[in-house]
């Protein structure tokens, strides 16, 4: 059996660059002065400073969540975190201008490859700000705006001010308030009416500075009848003390629009990943969250879809893997507000080496949402006696004329399956990886090729020695 320590050693993103060349690094802890400093360094308009300061007060006033893994949550030392790190001056336009050490890090993450393949516009977040951003010409030609949030605030302040925080208000929860106070970077996407963005937009996130919180803010607006797929992948290098990642992602799908948001979360295993993701889907709009959670120490993330208009559709596909010391507390929320809205939630999780997964879900069907249909399915696979999994689905149905389906299962890996695969010449590790990859197949097949390959590889690594 492979020891957890050697997993740590083998971790392929477990390297980090020298931090000497950083342009600015805030002191540890959060004060009103730091919030003001962030805003003034970014030369933000007065309304944004007011927004941040209000959020700062809200963060201070709000208690920590009293549900979930409170023992782990209370390990977060807010005074031991740097809330802002600026890696270099300004956002670089071309790849050649990106500083070498940052480039080396991205090289190892495969960003340039994605660029060469010209799959889509790449926006890569390194530390708190986006340092590299290429916008494909055809995107711009169609009027599609795809940039980092700081640029959006400078160049399109009217759209940002109109929609920011209208999906996730400042006071939604303590971590949304924290993000609102100190946010930096993240992506902004606006797709004009009727435009279909054919290739996925990609952004890569990465934490480097020890004890740095990363607080990106993403806002995606798909105007009437438009279509867009956004992909966010995360990896982070190895560190000894806990780091905090707390993002806020807001999606707005207007009438007939379609948004798919794909995340592969593979933070290093000392990172607290506390994220608020919520989407509004208006009449006949579609929102899909495709959400993979492999890394981090504790993840708390429940992508939500509010089906606001008649005929709106929501789908949440999520997978979670928890190994030693990890707790993936993930789930999904769907709120049916309007008639004839439909939703599908599929969640699968695997625990091994003493890991823990929790599915925490909510489906609400409000009075008047006649003809609403929802189907929730959650399956858990537990690899050994030390690991555990909880399923906590909540359903609040206030409309009689609706259809609700729910099924859940918990199972161990089938010994017969394993025996059969091994009798065909596979090693135990390969057989286990194959079965687990099959379990996650519903998820992997929704991913673009490079991500599917990476995910299969990661699952294989995690499964080594999982059965014994």
């Amino acid at each position: 059996m492979i020891a957890p320590e050697s997993l740590v050693e083998d971790y392929r993103h477990g390297f980090h660059d020298s931090e000497d060349s950083y342009a600015f690094k805030s002191a540890k802890g959060l004060t009103r002065e730091i919030v003001e400093r962030i805003s003034s360094m970014k030369s933000e308009p007065a309304w944004m400073l007011a927004f941040r300061l209000k959020a700062y007060e809200t963060f201070r006033a709000k208690p920590m969540p009293d549900w979930g893994d409170t023992a782990l949550l209370n390990e977060i030392d807010f005074d031991d975190i740097r809330y802002f790190v600026k890696a270099s001056e300004g956002t670089e336009r071309s790849w050649d201008d990106v500083p070498d050490d940052i480039k080396r890090t991205f090289d190892r993450l495969g960003i340039p490859e994605a660029e060469r393949k010209f799959l889509s516009g790449v926006s890569a977040q390194y530390e708190s700000e986006v340092v590299y951003h290429s916008v494909r010409e055809d995107l711009a030609k169609d009027g599609v705006i795809f940039c980092d949030m700081d640029t959006a605030l400078r160049e399109h302040p009217e759209i940002v001010q109109k929609y920011l925080s209208t999906v996730i208000p400042i006071a939604d929860n303590k971590f949304a308030a924290l993000n609102s106070a100190v946010w930096s970077g993240g992506s902004f996407v606006y797709v004009p009416p009727g435009i279909e963005v054919k290739t996925p937009l990609q952004a890569y996130f990465r934490i480097n500075t020890e004890n740095m919180g990363q607080f990106e803010r993403t806002l995606i607006i798909a105007d009437k009848g438009s279509k867009v797929h956004y992909i966010e992948g995360c990896t982070a290098p190895q560190f000894s003390t806990a780091s905090l990642h707390s993002a806020v992602v807001e999606l707005i799908a207007m009438e007939g629009a379609s948004i798919r948001y794909t995340t592969i979360q593979n933070w290093y295993r000392n990172i607290f990943n506390l994220v608020t993701k919520r989407a509004l889907a208006y009449k006949n709009a579609t929102v899909e969250w495709v959400d993979g959670n492999i890394g981090s120490r504790l993840t708390m993330k429940y992508p939500a879809i509010y089906l606001m208009g008649e005929g709106a559709r929501g789908e949440i596909l999520s997978m979670a893997f928890a190994g030693e010391g990890q707790h993936q507390d993930a789930g999904a929320k769907v709120i049916h507000v309007a008639p004839n809205t439909t939703s599908v939630v599929t969640n699968k999780s695997v625990t091994a080496h003493g890991g823990k997964t929790t599915y925490r879900g909510l489906v609400e069907i409000h009075k008047g949402a006649t003809g609403a249909k929802t189907r929730v399915k959650c399956d858990a696979l537990i690899m050994d006696d030390k690991s555990s999994s909880d399923t906590k689905p909540t359903m609040k149905i206030d409309e009689q004329l609706s259809t609700v389906e729910h099924e859940a299962s918990v199972s161990k890996i089938g010994e017969e399956q394993l025996f059969y695969a091994m009798s065909r010449g596979l090693s135990e590790a390969d057989a286990t990886a194959m079965i687990v990859n099959g379990f996650f197949d519903f998820f992997v097949k929704e991913l673009p090729m490079e991500y599917a390959v990476e995910l299969n590889r990661l699952v294989k690594l995690e499964m080594e020695g999982a059965v014994g």
Partner: protein
């Protein structure tokens, strides 16, 4: 239904709110630009008390999860709330604020 006096106009300066009980309901009186509006003092999302929130223009925020309501119509403006709060008709008689409860 009948109007009954529940508060004095002088108790509710512009831009502030005042909580009263009408029958079995907690009602929040909101002074928006000199005009009084009355809404039920219960957030439709999670039952939070809106009187603990700030009134900004015509909007009030529930402090529990940040949902905004329009106090003039009761409409839910942002998630996590989606359903409107109940509204009450208001009549001013002299210094008396009367609510149709």
């Amino acid at each position: 239904m009948s109007f009954q006096p529940v508060a004095k106009l002088s108790e509710i300066p512009e831009g502030t709110t005042h909580k009263v009980v009408v029958g079995r309901h907690a009602v929040l009186l909101c002074n928006v630009g000199g005009q009084i509006f009355a809404i039920e003092d219960v957030c439709t999302h999670d039952g939070g008390e809106l009187d603990q929130g700030e009134l900004e223009g015509t909007r009030i925020m529930c402090p529990r999860h940040g949902a905004f309501f329009d106090v003039t119509t009761g409409a839910a403006l942002t998630p996590p709330a989606v359903m409107p709060v109940a509204t009450y008709r208001v009549r001013i008689e002299g210094d008396d604020v009367c609510v149709d409860g």
